[in-house]
Amino acid sequence: MNCRSVQKRLSAYQDGELRPGEQERIMEHLKICRTCREQYAGLERVWQNLGGLLEIQPRPGFYLKIRNKINEAHGRGFLPRLRPIFQLLPAPLAMVPLLAIGLLIGTYLGYALVERGLSPFRHSPVSYFHEEVTLASLRAFDSMPPGTIGDGYVRMVSYAEEVYR
């Protein structure tokens, strides 16, 4: 066994997770290889350090608190039971239905305000050169309807022609 393959297996060797033959081969290698032995000593130090973390004990009344939580859970209504489902949703996904509801309410209220004439943005009837726009007055099919840049240009040219004539 070379050092590379031994070092790959050192963690499993430490945890006793290798097959018996493999475990023994690594043990033999560690006896003769200083580099691998040092690597293994490093792992052992980590293991011992972790052992320095002492165990904590539950505070008195631990079981009583569990019983209280059980009683509370029994008395819960319908909505709090749905909370875990909502907790599963990431925040942006949860915002989508909220946004949709907001848009619906906004559209409905806006429509209702306009219908009753209560809109804060009261609009005057569209006028076009002080004329009320009706289908009859709308010269949309003219080649150059009045008020457009093209119409202004044509007028300007014809005025210039009259002047120079």
């Binding site: 963690s11 945890d15 973390l53 907790q87």
Partner: protein, 199 residues
């Protein structure tokens, strides 16, 4: 709660009795597993108060799920799965709180010394030893908290619960080789972090 119930009945049997509403059986079950569940959570999240809350939540879930429990796996595997799911959820919600509320969570103070002193004052002889031991405990917990969550959990399950790679794989939902690679990386990372503390 009788001693007979305490020692002879396996945890699966206690759970079956708890499912029928036997509160004594449930209490025995809690007292049998409370320390390991509490320490598993404490070592993972590094805060005693949060760990105790979560451990209570674990037993609440056990009570609620007792009726639907099917003994496919060992009871300990099942309860550790519940514990780990809650731990990872807690971690996610702590991150979310940090992201949206920009506030420090309670989990950011691993191994506070005052907690340690009250917990271990009786076990350690002199005040100097207690102080040194508390400092070392804080350093290890700090280094531990910096590991990625899945490496941390694999290491806790191996080092403190003494589970095999196969059992860890069942609990974490991954293969034996994945557990091996998680542990290799966890030990290497922890060794580097602890060496930097020693310097």
């Amino acid at each position: 709660m009788g001693d007979q119930l305490d020692k002879a009945t396996p945890s699966e049997g206690l759970l079956a009795k708890a499912a029928e509403g036997d509160k004594d059986a449930f209490e025995t079950l809690v007292s049998r597993h409370q320390t390991s569940v509490l320490n598993l959570i404490y070592r993972f999240i590094g805060n005693r108060a949060d760990a105790e809350d979560l451990a209570q939540e674990v037993f609440l879930r056990v009570w609620q799920a007792a009726r639907t429990y099917k003994p496919k796996a060992k009871f300990t595997t099942w309860i550790y799965r519940i514990t780990i799911n809650l731990c990872f959820n807690e971690l996610k919600s702590t991150r979310r709180k940090k992201l949206f509320l920009f506030r420090r969570s309670r989990g950011e103070v691993p191994g506070r010394d005052d907690e340690y002193f009250t917990e271990h004052a009786e076990k350690i002889s002199s005040p100097e030893d207690l102080l040194l031991s508390a400092e070392r405990n804080r350093q290890i917990l700090n280094a531990f908290q910096q590991l990625p969550a899945n490496q941390r959990m694999a290491l806790v399950l191996k080092r403190f619960e003494g589970l095999s790679y196969q059992e860890i794989g069942q609990i974490l939902g991954c293969s034996v080789s994945a557990v091996d690679s998680l542990l290799v990386r966890a030990k290497r990372n922890l060794r580097e972090k602890l060496t930097s503390y020693e310097k």
